[in-house]
Amino acid sequence: MNMILYRRRGMRYSTACLLGLVFFVLFVGVSGATEVGSVVDAATAATLSAPSPADADALASEDERWLAGKEGDFGRPVTVPGEGDGIADPLEPLNRVFFQFNDKLYFWLLKPVTTVYSHALPDDVRLCIRNFFDNLSAPVRIVNTLLQGKVRGSGIELARFVINSTVGCAGFGDPAGVEFGLQPVDEDLGQTLGVYGIGNGIYLYWPIVGASSLRDTVGLVGDSFLEPMSYMMSQNTGDSLVVYGGRRVNALSFRLGDYEVFKETAMDPYSAMRDIYYQYRQGRIRDLAGTAPDNGEMALDDDGDSARRQMAASPAAPVR
């Protein structure tokens, strides 16, 4: 699932502009058709400011409610998918076309290129490259932690950025994490909007970029303004596309083969991926994953490594 984060980080200016345009058309077209009211889910709509610890507690208690037997199982009512809790997918036919497109893109282009790439460069080198790109998108995390009222997280990200950009040789190393134990606090604008009570809207599956939602696509576009790479894009589009591709391939090199397993063990990979996206993002927004309710804001996972980490154990993390 975390490949979405990758893509997010990898978002470039022209892609962003394109997405922005498409989004605008979609939003205008769709907002009439679907009830936007249902889009803002009741749980997160509770507050329009960064949630207080008490709210976080209420949100984080999904598992607790299951324990107490008050919830349908697994924190969601057992309904037909697509109803109630979950993510609306009115554009499913179109999304499925793009899903097929990305599937081919993976097998015909990304996979062969990445296979050669990962044989050419050892793990450590690829890790450094990933660090470098992740460091470049630190501004996105610094701003979004602040927007969510996570002052401590913002401080950590700022410190990481300063340390890794200097002592860490322009971001290729991660002394902040290794020596100082400062783990990344991964927040993006999609999450920030979620924290502020904006629901997913509808599910969107973009060509090349992959799984997203209306809200998270807006987030991507917004975040791209904080990416130094988007400015490079406006200067030299050709080079930036190469850089974007390089980043994607580098990220993929850590989890090659996982998409195949996911596809083989899902009966309808499209639906399975949509649900993974939904569950994963819900967890990210509520900072739930692995967090016991009373732990508040701990255990935020990092950005760069999340893909590899998810893959290391995950149910499926589709790639691309």
Partner: protein, 213 residues
């Protein structure tokens, strides 16, 4: 004198309270020991799997299959695939005959194992840390973290108590529930083509994974 006596009495009372507390705590401890403890159950299984993965003799490529078999054996003991299937198929489960249910559990458990088993070949010394245990009646949640080169993957186990044994029936990895995800996946097929189509598809995918889709 009287004041001293009062002091003694207070001391005695607090000592007695301490003893009562210790006794209660002891009882509680005894009551939760061994198989009655979901954390111990999960821990034992995880440690057993890590032991297999760390065994240098089993680590050679020639014994890959043997190693996978050993891990699967531990998983079969710790997981309740029937419960897992039942929750995944909520609403559809009851409509099937016992024979159909058995067949479904067989296919489903194979699918779940296939999804994860190859991951163990990538094992490079990752450790598991257990962070929290929550128990309520016959349900339990175990919070854990897979520590991988300084980065953490949060994993939550959901357990049910069957008789005296705690069994895992769902995994939440980075908040993605296995059961909830397969429910979405399976229901998508059932809704379109029905239950039999789902079973057929499972059989096909398990036989020749490359050819389908």
């Amino acid at each position: 004198m009287g004041r001293r006596l009062a002091g003694e009495r207070r001391k005695f009372v607090s000592l007695a309270m301490c003893m009562v507390f210790l006794l209660v705590a002891g009882q509680w401890q005894i009551g939760r020991s061994a198989d009655d403890n979901p954390l111990a159950a999960v821990k034992a299984s995880v440690q057993e799997i890590l032991r297999i993965l760390k065994d240098p003799e089993l680590g050679v490529p020639a014994r890959k299959e043997e190693r996978q078999k050993q891990v699967v054996a531990v998983v079969d003991n710790a997981f309740d695939f029937r419960e897992m299937a039942q929750h995944t198929m909520a609403g559809h489960w009851e409509k099937q005959t016992p024979a159909e249910q058995d067949r479904f559990v067989e296919l489903f458990s194979q699918l779940v194992k296939n999804r994860y088993i190859d991951k163990i070949d990538n094992y490079t010394g990752q450790e598991v840390v257990f962070t929290k245990e929550r128990v309520q009646g016959d349900k339990a949640l175990i919070y854990s973290t897979l520590v991988d080169k300084g980065t953490d993957i949060p994993i939550i186990y959901r357990l049910f108590k069957k008789g005296d044994t705690w069994l895992v029936f769902d995994l939440k990895i980075e908040n993605v529930s296995l059961v909830a995800n397969y429910r979405e996946d399976f229901f998508s097929i059932i809704k379109k083509d029905g239950y039999n189509a789902l079973v057929k598809r499972m059989e096909e995918k398990l036989q020749s994974p490359d050819k389908v889709n």
